[in-house]
């Protein structure tokens, strides 16, 4: 910097100025080298495990491989996959799962977080209890549901409870109408712990004076939640809603384990499972890639609309 101040800006010759700029750039580059070096790792991992497979998948969706020979087939895979009788069923199931998961999996953690936040004693223990299922590997948790809770005979936990209460029992995963609610129930139980903790952190950041002021204005508990809690946690609520929708639209492990795949007459077939079925059971990797691209486009479109809407609101 000393050299820069020694020569007044107006008196510098162009040559000297160019040298200075180069030196400055070189120094800037050196200064940022550490940052670039750290970036290489992330870029390498993203490129290898995210971007390359994504591009490869898009390319594959326009190809067909037979006897080890790959040829370009235009939109044939897309046409074929849309004509698969399970295609619309899979989308319908996926949307149904997403909506149910939004009602149950979005609302329940928020309510639980509010309740936990209101507690004066044992908050820590209850927080651990709520978070405990997240620590179970998803496959183990789902097998627990499959063999212990959802057993279609009277020996199953849920059926035993229903029987004890003199209520009609269910065949759970074997019933076309109960398959989706049962999957959502298991999924919510498994995943709600993380959402509860995030909501709790957000709730604890709400200034107490706001509640006090609301109370002075005569607001009851529901009014306080509506007028204070929800507006104050709106950003987190919006973010988690989007993350939840994007995650639940990719539901896969639940049908795979709970319903042994497609379930009763495709009642558990999700789009992600249909991709798996085409790719690995029907040896149709190109069709699977086409369906994967369709799903990517749907989720990208949803995310774009969602971000635009929430940005406008803010």
């Amino acid at each position: 910097m000393a050299t820069m101040t020694s020569v007044p800006e107006t008196k510098r010759t162009p040559r000297v100025y160019a040298v200075k700029v180069q030196t400055r750039r070189g120094r800037k580059l050196r200064d940022n080298l550490t940052g670039y070096a750290f970036l290489i790792g992330a870029i390498f991992c993203f490129a290898l495990f995210s971007w390359f497979p994504m591009i490869r998948g898009i390319v594959m969706s326009f190809q067909h491989t037979k006897r080890g020979v790959t040829s370009w087939v235009g939109f044939d895979n897309y046409t074929r996959i849309v004509q698969d009788p399970s295609f619309w069923t899979a989308w319908k199931n996926t949307f149904y799962f997403t909506v149910l998961a939004l009602i149950l999996g979005y609302l329940v953690p928020f309510v639980v977080a509010i309740l936990l936040n209101e507690l004066r004693h044992g908050k820590g223990y209850l927080r651990i209890l709520v978070y405990l299922p997240v620590m179970l590997p998803p496959a183990s948790a789902l097998f627990l549901f499959k063999y212990y809770a959802y057993d279609p005979s009277d020996a199953g936990l849920f059926n035993a409870i229903l029987k004890f209460l003199h209520l009609p029992t269910s065949e759970w995963m074997q019933s076309p109408t109960m398959t989706m609610p049962a999957m959502v129930l298991a999924s919510t139980w498994m995943n709600m712990g993380g959402a509860v903790l995030i909501y709790l952190a957000s709730l604890q950041n709400i200034p107490g004076e706001l509640y006090e002021a609301a109370e002075l204005d005569g607001a009851g508990i529901f009014r306080r939640i509506w007028n204070v809690t929800i507006p104050q946690t709106r950003l987190i609520l919006a973010l988690l809603a989007m993350l939840q929708i994007v995650a639940t639209m990719q539901v896969f492990i639940e049908p795979l384990i709970l319903a042994n795949g497609a379930g009763t007459q495709d009642s558990a077939t999700s789009v992600a499972y249909l991709i798996y079925q085409h790719g690995f059971f029907q040896n149709d990797l190109n069709g699977a890639a086409a369906l994967g691209v369709i799903m990517l486009l749907v989720l990208a479109a949803f995310s774009a609309v969602y971000v635009r809407l929430t940005t406008k609101q803010d």
Partner: protein, 460 residues
Amino acid sequence: MSVPQYRKVAAIALVAGLGFSLTACSTKGDDDSGKSAAGKTVITVDCQPDGSQKDLLKNWNDDVAAFEKENPDITIKSVSVGQQCNNPPDFTARLTGGTQTDVFYGYMTDLQQVLDSGQALDITQYATKDNIPSWDSVDPALKAVFTDGGKIYAVPTKNYSMGLLYNKTLFTKAGLDVNNPPKTWADVRTAAKKIAALGGGVSGYSEYSAGNTGGWHFTAELYSQGGQILSADNKKADFNNAQGKQVLQNLKDMRYGDNSMGTRQLLQWADLLTNAAGGKVGMFVGAPDATTAIVQQFQGKYQDWAMAPLPGQDGAAKGTLGGGEGYFFRKDLTPEQVKAGLKWIAFEKLTPGKGQFDYARAKTQNQPVGLPQPLLFANGTEAQKQELDARKANQNVPSENFGLFEATPVPIKGEPVNAQAIYAVLDSAMSGVLTNPNANIDELLKTAETKTNQLLASNG
């Protein structure tokens, strides 16, 4: 070390680490010649029994040791791929990723998939008596299954046909005659009702409907009706007809008409055999080696099980499903590796008195000996004679248990092309009638037909 310096060092270490990783990725771990440093030919082979199958694992490892002693220039590296050597999605993933072993297990139905993946090696010139001493005795029909365009791509190691397996203990308890098993599907229905009436969670008849196994059994039962999965030219589905409907109707009647199939459905291979080994299944369609799996993998008793021919609709079955397995070879193997692989397959799978035919050893381990299959050797060949003699000498399965199955042969039909993909489609029809009392059989078959035709069209 100051913070900026520490950051620089960490960054340099990170870049260097990545550089080393890339170098490691780009360098093949094994020598392309397939030779070890000691100059031995090295081959990897899959389908080594997993840790849960202690006797089988010990037998395999002992066999590898004995083989390597006999062939000091060959090293076998065994790989276990789970209890079921070919779980279709795992198999596809390995094949697509090119991570299969040098010599790899596959079903007879897998030839097209292996060819499509571009991973198959033509072993015609190597599949000779020099490398497999019993090769000329192997049933030519089985070699044909693994042959395409006149080229052989795999060595057959098992061959089966399906029938009706039934639990003698449950038959006796239900007052049924163990020597007079059901001959028709109506008989099966009657017997299933009586067995299910025993209670205690016992299913009179049990059936698959998930993991491709439902479609596999639909095919066998369709053959029993005289039907076929595909048209003669393999271009169209041919099961949406009276025979296909009858298969599903029989199951629906037993499941919901008689409630004789139990409430737990969507069963896959291991689910049903676990129940069978636990004495909870009266009858199911299967091959003789299901008894072996019940004993070896699911801790059941072979003494409980007997086998009858597949039932027919109004009399004897018009056909039954035949299938089997074999070993393929990676396309990039050296001639020495192919020969080493063939020698190992010959030793473990195709030599009377050794490997899978070591009946003396199996008997000491209380494994079932005397089952009528695998039928690998052609009639009248020396290998067949040796195998039958050894089997008889060590037999522990009462001959009457499988006598009727052996004495009443049913015409065997092979599996359709693209079998595993079609089985996946047909699972849905099977699960439909087994889990939905209001399932519409016509609709189920129509949907499966549409999907199968699409699949055939896309596979050209």
